[in-house]
Amino acid sequence: MQNKIKYGALVLMATVFVASGCRKLYNLTDEKEYLSTQADYTRKTFDPILGRTNLYTNIFQPNGSSMPMKFEIRNPRFGDGRNASDMLAVKPTLVWQSEYTGLETSLAEIEAKRKLENHPMLELRPSGDLIFWYTATRDIIRPKDSISYPQNVRYIDVKISNSGGTRVIQNLTIEPRIDVPYEPADDYNQITGKPNTTTPGGRTRIFNYPSGLTGFKGESTNQPMDDPRNAAKGLVYVYIRKFDPDPNGHTLRFKFLNRDSLPINPGKFNQTKWIQQVHGFNAAGTALGYTQTAEYVEYNVAYPIPLARIPTKYTTGGPTNYSGGDRAHVEFSYSRIGFGNVRETATLSQDFKIFEKGNWEIVFHFKTVNPKFDND
């Protein structure tokens, strides 16, 4: 009997030994996620432009650390230690939920692809990407001055963690720059937000010029107007401005002014395919379309323009410019019979971006010489 017990105990011991899970028995280290000691931000200073969404990608080198990782903003402060958590205020923000294609046929269809979500103005993604949302504007966040004093520089620390551990990366600096609501913005002082001049505080203004000007002839000079910066050939200024302070506006107008600053009838640009210039809709927003008057052509649009960096027929280079989509592109043209019965086509083109919602107009001002529309 005793032997039986002995034997039984032995078998039992062996079974326990086998079944108990040797890993536990041998006290082996458990697998953890990996957090590299060299994981770090490769970029630590950020100067986002207010009023537009700034996304800094590929700025965090995990050095093989296990993703996803948790990124938390810690200790937002100014250089002098003041609290700078104002930039973490949560705002309703438009985010994409499906892809913009440029083929949408109504304003509602575009809006259905975006939705409002609450996001802090400054955010970190699980990849470490830093997002400074468009909701931060100059009235909430004080932009960077021409001289940056340490007490005005914003600092954050970033705590990164996964199950392998935690680290804090210190002193990422953020110095937001003043909003530049449109591009090209040569006429816009990017420190003060005032009209730009050749020297600080000077009186000589800098203007925007059209991206392309071909085939125009001066009405009075009968010379080609091929240099919009040349007063003798004919200056052409481009103004991108709001014609109405309504912050919820969603229209875009194109206007042409002659040397007397009187509107030229857009109908004179008789070769223009107006419907293909801007992804714009009729006044009701229900179908692709525009409103044409003797003074302007107006589109009902969704801002910003372009909506996303996706090449469409409304962007520079069109949909087959696969790496494009960065800027909207418009082309206005007309043709006339030139000297010797030659049909001459004139084209005025403009690449642009508008970041801020509103009622905007883009004005082409033939400052010194009027273009010639009549046949020779």
Binding site: L28, M67, Y100, E117, S127, I310, S323
Partner: protein, 1053 residues
């Protein structure tokens, strides 16, 4: 069986009692030797009983001396052998006994511990014996292959079909975590078990001198041993068994005993095999016009930009009437073909216990299924044994072998050119001297004479100084030269003929002197074995390459042109190792019931550095033979049962001298003085420690019902510390890297082996053997600065590098993969997630290009970090490149003269990377290129929007693929289960009727047919889940494993 033994015992005991009452008879001293009837080796520990009373046991050489009376009965008994009884005739003073196998096969075995034979019953270590029967009938160039699936815990993966090459051999899990090479050519550092052939240790990794994939003319010395000449192989697994072999036994020890003369009448045994090696199924390829129309169709459907226009500018596609492009060449057929091979073996032996001899002559020809590859081996092995008196014995052996290997344009294991050439477009004309490109010609026209020439001598003498005190000495000297002459004609080498020469030699001098003593004091048995060992190994290799020779006719003698001469001089494989060791083993047992075994070995090694040249390897083993206990007496069903517990440490210097002292190289001249400076590649580490391995082992063995079922269960824990780890240094330092000792890992697992004689009735016997091993390896330590993870990047400075890399993470299996997670295929473009910030679809790392965005039909890769960009940071550690479960299953049926064996093996829970499939898919990504078109066939490729269950992305959209890399290799799409069940071998043999054979004047004829590599069952999508590299990559340039069919004869004259 019990009854058979116990009753005679009682009977003889009665007689014993009576003898005292009888009149005194003449007493004489009788001597003799007890040997195994088949294998001829002496049986130590056999019980010698006189008149039924156990008197003594045989010594390590099987000898005994008893004093007994004339006419008394003497009987010999050893576990597992049938008892034999003799009556001493008047005047007889010697009785030599040959015991035959009885019931219970496992415990009978004679095992070798520290070069001394012991019975398994009396030792504690874990080992398994493979008999000659199991490695015959299936001609292979390397007998190691045949061990696959036969021993629990011995993981053999025959991962290459290259003739004469070795697969990977691991005893009890992973031996090292060090890998060499990168990408597809990542190999584990070779860690072969130590092979001991007739008492002489041998390096089996000969072929790996120049890196695993850089095969020189050397072949594994194992390939030079004829399988017909092997009497038995023993695989030692635990510390108690291996520690006496010292450092070099750290990865396990495999002992090979060759055949001895064993026939009183000289006889000739002729074995001949005729082998057909069949090419396995190769890739399907679209040929000729189907290839052309496929490519054009692909461009028409998916072309971007001016792709369609480019067709016109590609005569290869359009100029179908041009004879150069109007072909349908089967390129794979040019390189692969079925081969016919044969082997012949002649074995002459004769003699008795006093004097016996054996000569074995062998020819093995193995033409590889890849053109221009093969291995031929001629060998002659001789040995003789002479015992002028019972106390003195000599054994002499000479082994010679001549190998000839051809590796074509590849390196043996890898056949890159062949692999790539097989991917050529079928539209191109087949090879001819003027048409094919030079790489094809280099495979077909290379001329090579290479191979080793080996001569090994071995002399052993033993003398019994006083009874049971044995002295023996063994000396051996092996000398191998390897030469290689390779000639590439000019057409195959960019218009200039190239000549490569290689010469190398290896010599091993080995000496061992042994003293062993056995003493029995009533029930206490003592055994002591002390020996010293000297091992000197020298190796030097040199090579030279003349890039350009004057013409194809000029092959030598070679002049010297410094401008065109490459390589040359002594290679870095230079070796000059000296080691001296002293070892002792002490065994005590009480009545064979409780056994304790201690061993201790000190190795002094020239490669350990000056700081500490000595390593100490102790071990302890305990064993309890339960069946000897009184309470087990009545368990008639029990043949034997025991428990064993062993533990030990093995310390092994693994660093090279250059790791310790640094490498010094000529660094040019200064002031006309030649300078020698240190090589800044690696900083010397004089404090480099040897690798330390501590192993514990617990076993249960039992056999029941007279061999009905025999079970061996082992569990072990092996902690390997001070593993070498090459660490890159900061680029601000002068040196590139240094060898540290800061890695450690653990192997633990279970091994189970069950043998059952299911049917034993009349003429039919059916034996089943199942074994399996579950081996876990866990990485427990990395150098501290890595904080628990290290990815074997090609360039440690660039963590974003793409490629398949080995990940080492503490706490998980030591060699994992580092891959993108593939979750299928996007059914439609709308399914692709959109970045809420930018409004862009999930995209690839590359630039701001809308084409880099994913669309329907693209691979659904996991965006682990949530930045809507698939880039290097999304890779995850996963998978296990090493198999978790390995084992085998064999069946033997014997029915009269027929004998049918089916050996099979299995491997489970392993991830392998199907790179061959990835390469194949990528062939479709360039319709303008001159590559073949393999049809995707039955693979689940995305077939259009809405196909949500596809496994592979739209492989035909070549234009999009260039932006997406849907078929990138570093993704889990290719990581498949490498589990398989393989029928290794089916052999049917027939013994001709004795009378018929006698009439022909022969003594035995046996014929057999066998199939090798018969079938493989696996969920794997590639051709063969075993034909992968050691880190589990199925590469298209690998050497396919052929299926072979053999017809063989054994004839004894």
């Amino acid at each position: 069986m019990r009854k058979q033994i116990i009753w005679p015992l009682i009977f003889f005991s009665c007689i014993l009692v009576c003898t005292n009452l009888m009149a005194q008879v003449k007493r004489v001293t009788v001597k003799g030797t007890v040997t195994d009837a088949v294998a001829k080796f002496p049986l130590p520990g056999a019980t010698v009983s006189v008149a039924g009373k156990p008197i003594t046991a045989t010594g390590p050489d099987g000898r005994y001396t008893v004093t007994m009376g004339e006419g008394e009965k003497i009987s010999f008994k050893s576990l597992g052998y049938a008892e034999q009884e003799f009556t001493l005739k008047p005047g007889q003073l010697t009785i030599d006994v040959q015991l035959k196998e009885g019931a219970g096969t496992q415990m009978k075995e004679t095992v070798v511990r520290g070069y001394v034979r012991r019975t398994r019953e009396q030792t504690a270590g874990a080992s398994t014996i493979i008999t000659a029967k199991e490695v015959q009938d299936n001609p292979v160039s390397n007998v190691e292959q045949l061990l696959q699936g036969k021993v629990a815990g011995l993981n053999i993966q025959n991962n290459t079909g290259a003739p004469g090459q070795r697969g990977s051999v691991n005893i009890r899990g992973l031996s090292t975590i060090a890998t060499t090479g990168t990408g597809d050519a990542t190999f584990l550092q070779p860690t072969s078990p130590l092979y001991v052939i007739d008492g002489v240790p041998l390096d089996a990794d000969k072929a790996a001198d120049q890196g695993f994939d850089q095969q020189g003319p050397g072949v594994s010395p194992l390939s030079l041993i004829p399988q017909e000449d092997i009497a038995s192989m023993e695989i030692l697994k635990d510390a108690s068994a291996t520690s006496l072999y010292g450092s070099r036994g750290a990865y396990g020890v495999i002992l090979i005993t060759t055949v001895r003369g064993r026939s009183k009448i000289p006889r000739i045994l002729y074995t001949s095999n005729y082998v057909l090696r069949d090419v396995p199924k190769l890739r399907e390829t679209l040929g000729g016009v189907s290839e052309r129309s496929f490519k054009i169709g692909q461009i028409q459907q998916y072309g971007l930009g001016d792709d369609r226009y480019r067709i016109t500018n590609t005569p290869f596609l359009t100029d179908s009437l041009n004879a150069f492009y109007n072909n349908s060449t089967n390129w794979q057929d040019i390189f692969y073909s079925t081969r016919f091979n044969m082997t012949h073996n002649l074995n002459l032996d004769g003699g008795d216990d006093r004097f016996n001899y054996k000569v074995n002559l062998k020819y093995l020809g193995e033409n590889g299924i890849v053109e221009n590859t093969g291995f031929d081996n001629y060998s002659m092995n001789m040995n003789m044994q002479y015992k002028p008196t019972t106390r003195l014995g000599f054994f002499g052996q000479v082994r010679t072998a001549l190998g000839r290997n051809r590796s074509g344009s590849g390196t043996g294991v890898l056949q890159r050119i062949v692999g790539d050439s097989g991917n050529r477009s079928t539209l191109l004309p087949g090879p001819s001297f003027l048409l094919a490109t030079s790489d094809v010609l280099s495979s077909l026209n290379i001329r090579e004479t290479s191979g080793p020439k080996m001569i090994a001598t071995n002399v052993n003498a033993n003398y019994e100084l006083i009874p049971n005190l044995n002295l023996s000495t063994q000396s051996s000297y092996d000398y191998t030269t390897e030469t290689q002459d390779r000639f590439l004609p000019s057409a195959a080498n960019a218009q200039f003929a190239q000549i490569y020469n290689f010469y190398g030699y290896t010599s091993v001098l080995y000496n061992r002197n042994n003293i062993s003593y056995i003493k029995s004091l009533s029930k206490h048995n003592f055994f002591l074995n002390v020996f010293d060992e000297i091992y000197v190994r020298k190796q030097q290799q040199s090579s030279t390459r003349i890039e350009r020779t004057p013409n194809d006719q000029f092959e030598g003698p070679l002049g010297y042109d410094g401008n065109l001469s490459r390589g040359g001089g002594v290679l870095q494989s230079f070796f000059d190792l000296k080691s001296a060791s002293v070892a002792a083993a002490f065994t005590y047992d009480y009545d064979k019931k409780y056994i304790a075994e201690f061993t201790y070995r000190i190795d002094g090694n020239s490669s350990s550095g000056q700081e500490n040249p000595f390593t100490r390897n102790p071990s302890l083993g305990l064993k309890w033979n339960i069946n000897k206990e009184a309470f087990a007496e009545n368990w008639k069903w029990l043949d034997y049962a025991d428990l064993r517990l062993t533990g030990g440490q093995t310390i092994q210097p693994v660093g090279l001298l250059v790791d310790i002292y640094g490498r010094y190289v000529p660094t040019g001249f200064y002031n006309n003085q030649p300078r020698v400076g240190i090589d800044f590649g690696r900083i010397p580490n004089p404090l480099l420690k040897p690798k330390n391995q501590v192993q514990y082992n617990f076993d249960v063995d039992f056999g029941i019902k007279n061999g009905l079922i025999e079970v061996v269960y082992d569990t072990y824990y092996k902690n390997i510390t001070s593993e070498l780890f090459l660490t890159g240094l900061d680029n601000t330092l002068a040196f590139g890297s240094y060898q540290s000792n800061d890695a450690a890992f653990v192997n633990y697992g279970h091994e189970l082996s069950i043998t059952s004689r299911v049917i034993k009735s009349g003429k039919l016997t059916w034996t089943v053997q199942v074994n399996g091993a579950l081996n876990y390896d866990v990485l427990t330590k990395l150098p501290a600065q890595f904080n628990g993870q290290f990815i074997e990047l090609d360039d440690p400075g660039n963590p974003n590098l793409a490629g398949q890399f080995i990940a080492k993470r503490v706490g998980r299996n030591a060699l994992s993969n580092y891959l993108y997670q593939n979750n299928g295929v996007y059914s439609t473009t709308a399914d692709v997630p959109v970045d809420p910030v930018t409004g862009l679809r999930l995209r690839n790392a590359s630039a701001n290009n809308i084409l880099s965005s994913y669309q329907g039909g693209d691979a659904k890769l996991l965006d682990a970090n949530g930045d809507y960009v698939i880039d290097a940071r999304d890779r995850q550690v996963g998978g296990n490149t090493q198999p978790l479960v390995t084992g085998g299953f064999s069946n033997t049926w014997i029915y009269g003269p027929f004998n049918l064996n089916i050996y099979s093996s299995y491997t489970a829970v392993r991830s392998i990377l199907n790179n061959a499939l990835a390469d194949r898919m990528l062939l479709l990504s360039n319709p303008y290129g001159t590559n073949a078109v393999p049809p995707a066939g039955n693979l689940r490729v995305w077939n259009g929007p809405g196909d949500a269950t596809a496994q592979y992305a739209n492989v035909y959209n070549y234009a999009h693929e260039s932006y997406m890399a849907n078929f990138r290799k570093d993704q889990t799409l290719w990581q498949e289960s490498g589990s398989y069940f393989k029928i290794n071998q089916i052999t049917l043999s027939y013994n001709f009727d004795k009378n018929l054979v006698k009439r022909l004047g022969l003594s035995n004829i046996r014929t057999y047919i066998s199939g090798n590599n018969v079938a493989i069952f696996s969920p794997y999508s590639g051709p063969n889940p075993e034909n992968v590299t050691q880190v589990g990559k199925d590469i298209s340039s690998g050497y396919p494993i052929p299926r072979s069919y053999t017809l063989g004869f054994n004839v004894t004259f």
